[in-house]
Point group: C2
Chain length 210, copies 2
DNA sequence: AGAAAAGTTTGAATGAATTCAATTTTGCAG
DNA sequence: CTGCAAAATTGAATTCATTCAAACTTTTCT
C-alpha cells in the first residue's frame, strides 16, 4: 500500500517534461516540436512520456492550465477591491484576464489548447482546463455579486445569470481574438467593453435610491 | 481560358467524397473513419482526395457548413415573424438553432469541427464556417432589431451589442453542451433561457409608454 | 488529325504520434 | 542480504495522414 515513495519522482518527471516542452515550443513552435525531441530533451524515451501524459495535446493543456491558474489569482485582487463604477469594474477584470493570457502563451498555443479541450474533453488535463474555466466564470459572477454587495449595482438583478453571460461573451471573444492574428489586445478590449455596455447600464444604480 | 467544362465533374467529385464521408462517419465514427476508406468508398485514390479538400478536417467542416446553412434558413423564418414577447422570441430562435444542430451531426462531429475551426482558422472551409458563424450572430442581432421595430422592445438599447452578447453566450453554451455527452437539449435550452432572462427584462417595454 | 500543354489521378514513400511486449528498476518482506 | 512482485522505462513496430513525382486524360492549337 505504500505508494507515497513513488510520488516524488513522478512530480519531478512531470516538471522535467513540462520544461522540455516549454523550451521547445518557444524555440521551434508548437507544431514543429516533435514528441521525440521533447522526450529527448527531458532525457526520457517516448514511451515514458506516455506514462505521464495521455498524448501530446495533454502536455500543452497542462501548461495552459498553469497559466489559467495565474490569471485566476490576478483576477482575485480585482474582485477584492473593484472600481466603484460597474462598467469600469468589468473592464478592469476582463483586461486583467486578456493581458495576462499572452504573457507566456502565444496565440498559436491558445488555439491548439482550446481546440484540444473541445475535441478531447475527457483527457485529464482537458478536465482540469474545463474546471479552471468554470472558476473564471465563477469569478466574474463573484465580481457582479461584489458590486451589488458594495452597493454599486442593483441588487435585484440575477448576478449569476449576468455573470455567466458576461463570461461566456468574453470567452468567445477571446477565441475570436486568438483565431485572428491581425487582432490586437486594444481591439479586443474595446469590442468587449462595447458589448458589455448595455449590461453595465442595466446594473448601474441611477442617482439616489428612491 | 475555358475552365467551365471542368467545373461540373469537380462538383460531382465533391459530392461523391462528401457522401462517402457521411456514410463512414455514421457507420464507424469520426475518428475511426480512415482517409483511405473514405477514398475507397468514393472510388478515388487518396491522392485525388487531396485535390478536393485541404485535409481530413476540411472535409468535416464542409459537411458542418452545409448544416449551418440550414440552421440559418430555419432562423430566418423566426426573425420574420417572432413571438411578441422578447423572452419568448429569443427562446424560439435559440431553440431552433439547437434543435436543428443535432439533426445530421453527432456531438462528436461538432466537437471535432469546432476544434478544427479554432486550430486551423485559415483553411478554406474553416473560413466558410467562421463566416457562417458571423451570419448567425447577425441573425440574432436582427431579431433584437426586429423586436424593436415591431415595438416589442425598447428602442434605445444597442441592438448590435445585445445581439452579439446573446449570440456569444448561446454559442459557448452549445460548446459546453457538445463537450458533455450527458447533457440534453432541454437542459441546454433551460440554462440559456435563464441567462437571457435579465437581458429580456432589460429589453422589455413595461406597460404603456410614458 | 497530331502534338503540345494543362489539368488530374495515382499509390508508394514519408514522417510523426502512439502502442506494446520485453527489460530494467524499485520498494518491500522474510 | 536475497528474492520477488509491482511499477516504470524502453525503443522498435504500427498506424495513419499527408506529399509528390510519374502516368494518364483532356483541352487547345496548328
Amino acid at each position: 500500500m505504500t505508494v507515497g515513495l513513488r510520488e516524488r519522482p513522478k512530480a519531478d518527471m512531470n516538471r522535467r517534461i513540462l520544461q522540455a516542452q516549454a523550451w521547445l515550443f518557444h524555440e521551434v513552435g508548437c507544431d514543429a516540436a516533435r514528441l521525440e525531441d521533447i522526450a529527448a530533451r527531458a532525457e526520457v524515451s517516448v514511451g515514458t512520456f506516455y506514462n505521464y501524459f495521455e498524448n501530446k495535446g495533454d502536455l500543452l493543456l497542462a501548461t495552459v492550465a498553469m497559466e489559467v491558474e495565474e490569471v485566476l489569482a490576478a483576477g482575485e485582487t480585482v474582485v477584492a477591491r473593484p472600481p466603484m463604477d460597474v462598467a469600469r469594474a468589468l473592464s478592469r477584470l476582463i483586461a486583467t484576464y486578456f493581458d495576462h493570457s499572452l504573457l507566456y502563451l502565444s496565440k498559436e498555443m491558445w488555439r491548439i489548447a482550446m481546440a484540444l479541450s473541445i475535441s478531447q474533453p475527457a483527457t485529464p488535463f482537458s478536465r482540469r482546463y474545463t474546471v479552471l474555466d468554470g472558476l473564471l466564470r465563477d469569478q466574474v459572477c463573484a465580481l457582479v455579486a461584489q458590486m451589488q454587495r458594495l452597493g454599486h449595482a442593483r441588487a435585484e438583478v440575477d448576478a449569476r445569470a449576468v455573470g455567466e453571460l458576461l463570461f461566456n461573451n468574453l470567452n468567445l471573444m477571446f477565441v475570436e481574438f486568438v483565431k485572428d492574428d491581425g487582432m490586437g489586445l486594444e481591439m479586443l478590449n474595446a469590442a468587449v467593453a462595447r458589448q458589455n455596455a448595455p449590461i453595465a447600464e442595466l446594473l448601474r444604480k441611477t442617482g439616489v435610491k428612491s
